[in-house]
């Protein structure tokens, strides 16, 4: 009896949850469909549009405009570059704070986090002028630099929460057994730290890929990543729904897949370890 009730309940829950899930996902599903239609069909009423023939036209057209791959590549360089440089700076720092905590470590962590609270609009003016005067406007180097600084606090924090979970006693045991520092790091610590570093990398690439204030304000064309490329569709000429859909699908697909893989780590990274 009880089982029958709970089975029915779980069926109802399932129907409700699937409905809500599909409604939330619907806009993404819709642009995937639109991206495989011709421009004329893409603005037709939904039923007519669905019945229209499928085509790769829009993808071909977006790729033909050779600039798509330039922007895609810029996005890759900016997100991966800023993440790698950030890791290079953050790994030693997080390491030291996790294994050699001092009286000030907590204050230091909180201070780093506080730099993340500065609204971009607040420092837009000086950043714009600095970039202009140093010839960094519309350069990849400039954007990589800014995004490294923006996400550095998150990288340090995430690594710190991961490193803290590595038991310190292991280090002591190694030292007792006579391992030198090089071996200690290479054979004991590195393997234990790799998963944490990998998830930090993943989350940070996602955040940098989607950053849409500095990438829009500090680039024009040469260094413009996909966020800016897509923004250029805000004042298009002629019919563009299929092209915009195809460009959008290509812009979000890689990150959507990465994001799905990293959903567990996401919570820790985005809440600075406050929710695990």
């Amino acid at each position: 009896m009880a089982r029958a009730v709970s089975a029915r309940r779980s069926l109802l829950t399932g129907i409700l949850a699937w409905t809500i899930g599909l409604v939330i996902f619907f806009p993404i599903l819709w642009i995937v469909v639109l991206s495989f239609k011709s421009e004329g069909d893409a603005i037709a009423a939904p039923l007519a549009m669905l019945r229209a023939p499928w085509t790769f036209e829009a993808y071909a057209e977006v790729q033909e405009r050779s600039d798509y791959f330039k922007h895609f590549w810029n996005s890759v360089v900016i997100s991966v570059g800023s993440t790698l440089i950030g890791l290079l700076i953050a790994i030693p720092a997080a390491w030291a704070m996790a294994f050699v905590p001092g009286r000030r470590t907590k204050d230091l962590l909180m201070w780093m986090l506080s730099t993340k609270m500065m609204p971009a609009a607040g420092v837009l003016v000086p950043m714009y002028l600095i970039f202009r005067d140093f010839g960094l406007l519309d350069t990849l180097a400039g954007l990589v630099g800014v995004l490294t600084l923006i996400n550095l606090p998150i990288i340090v924090w995430m690594l710190y929460t991961y490193f803290k979970e590595i038991p310190g006693e292991i280090l002591e045991a190694c030292r007792m057994d006579g391992a030198d520092l090089k071996r200690e790091i290479l054979y004991i610590l590195a393997p234990m730290a790799v998963p944490g570093i990998a998830s930090t990398l993943l989350l940070n690439v996602i955040l940098a890929w989607n950053e849409a204030f500095w990438t829009l304000r500090l680039t024009a064309s040469d260094a413009a990543p996909l966020t800016a490329f897509i923004a250029s569709y805000s004042s298009p000429e002629g019919l563009f729904y299929a092209k915009l859909s195809a460009a959008s699908v290509m812009a979000i697909a890689p990150i959507l897949i990465l994001g799905w893989f990293s959903q567990k780590q996401l919570v820790r990274g985005l809440t600075f370890g406050a929710v695990k």
């Binding site: 699937w18 939330i24 639109l34 720092a93 609009a121 003016v125 490294t148 989607n210 809440t271 929710v275």
Partner: protein
């Protein structure tokens, strides 16, 4: 002795991170403050010198300022209300056992990974466009001439919908994570003692989630105070000042109007606003460090 040595090494390892962040924090901030007290308009390069509080006075008395503050508040509070309440309900739902739980979780999570410019343009064109958009087509199917002109008639509401769509997954994911760490036995014990679903929620589940809810609200507020791309590619702050927020006004003043001094003054105001929120967020996160 060994600790003395390792402390020095630790300091050395931390210093690059502290160094770059220190520069990143101090240099632009000092420049913003400096410019906010200077006459500095790119259109009038000969007018320079100390401006006193003039820039602040111009910014605060600008006809767009009142609208910008009001819209910023409505935007932040509107999105917070939708995502927090929606997030709690969705988290409770997704926490129940049902077929395909993992897939539904992925579907709900997806909008968070969509870059802001894509999300805004897709909503603007494919959904909210009164003639060719999805909602427009539905309205036409029911005999209307054209659908509701979202961005023309309710621009701020439209931006709220777009932004809420992106942040609902965030709230849901974090609240769901918090929910799953809840001790099931506690719930069962309460059930046996005759507590109904509502009192179980109010007295056990909600208190358990309080911290996560606080963190969701504070983190979102930090990000929502600086919503920019969504407005840039959809309404450009308009019609008039209907969807203008504080970051967008700073952008308009400093980049579009070329008034660096006034833009800097607006920036300082934005920083002060964000810091009030940040103060509470830091306290909530700092508590967690103790344990």
């Amino acid at each position: 002795m060994a600790t003395q040595h390792s402390r020095a090494a630790a300091r050395l390892m931390i210093s690059p991170a502290v160094g770059v962040l220190l520069i990143w924090m101090i240099v632009p901030l000092a420049m913003t403050l400096w410019f906010s007290f200077q006459q500095y308009n790119l259109l009038y390069p000969d007018r320079t010198g100390f401006a006193g509080w003039d820039n602040y006075r111009y910014f605060v008395t600008d006809f767009r300022f009142g609208a910008a503050i009001r819209n910023t508040l409505v935007l932040v509070l509107g999105v917070l209300a939708i995502t927090t309440i929606g997030g709690i309900l969705l988290a409770l739902l997704l926490d129940q056992p049902f077929r395909g739980q993992g897939i539904v979780r992925l579907l709900v999570l997806a909008p968070f990974f969509v870059m802001p410019t894509v999300s805004a343009l897709v909503w603007k064109n494919m959904f909210m466009n009164p003639v060719n958009g999805f909602f427009g087509h539905i309205a036409q199917a029911f005999g209307a001439q054209a659908g509701f002109d979202f961005l023309g008639q309710a621009p701020l509401m439209s931006v709220i919908i777009m932004v809420a769509w992106q942040w609902l997954p965030f709230a849901t994911l974090i609240l769901l994570t918090a929910l799953q760490s809840l001790d099931r036995e506690q719930i069962e014990a309460a059930e046996m003692d005759g507590a109904g679903a509502w009192s179980r929620f109010v007295y056990i589940v909600l208190p358990h989630m309080t911290r996560a809810i606080t963190v969701v609200i504070l983190i979102q507020t930090i990000f929502l105070l600086s919503v920019y791309a969504e407005i840039l590619v959809t309404t450009n702050g308009g019609p008039g000042t209907a969807s203008l927020n504080l970051p967008f006004l700073v952008y308009l003043a400093s980049i579009v109007d070329n008034d660096v001094g006034m833009g800097a003054a607006g920036g300082v105001i934005a920083i002060i606003l964000a810091n009030i929120v940040a103060f509470f967020l830091m306290r909530a996160i700092g508590k967690n460090l103790e344990t």
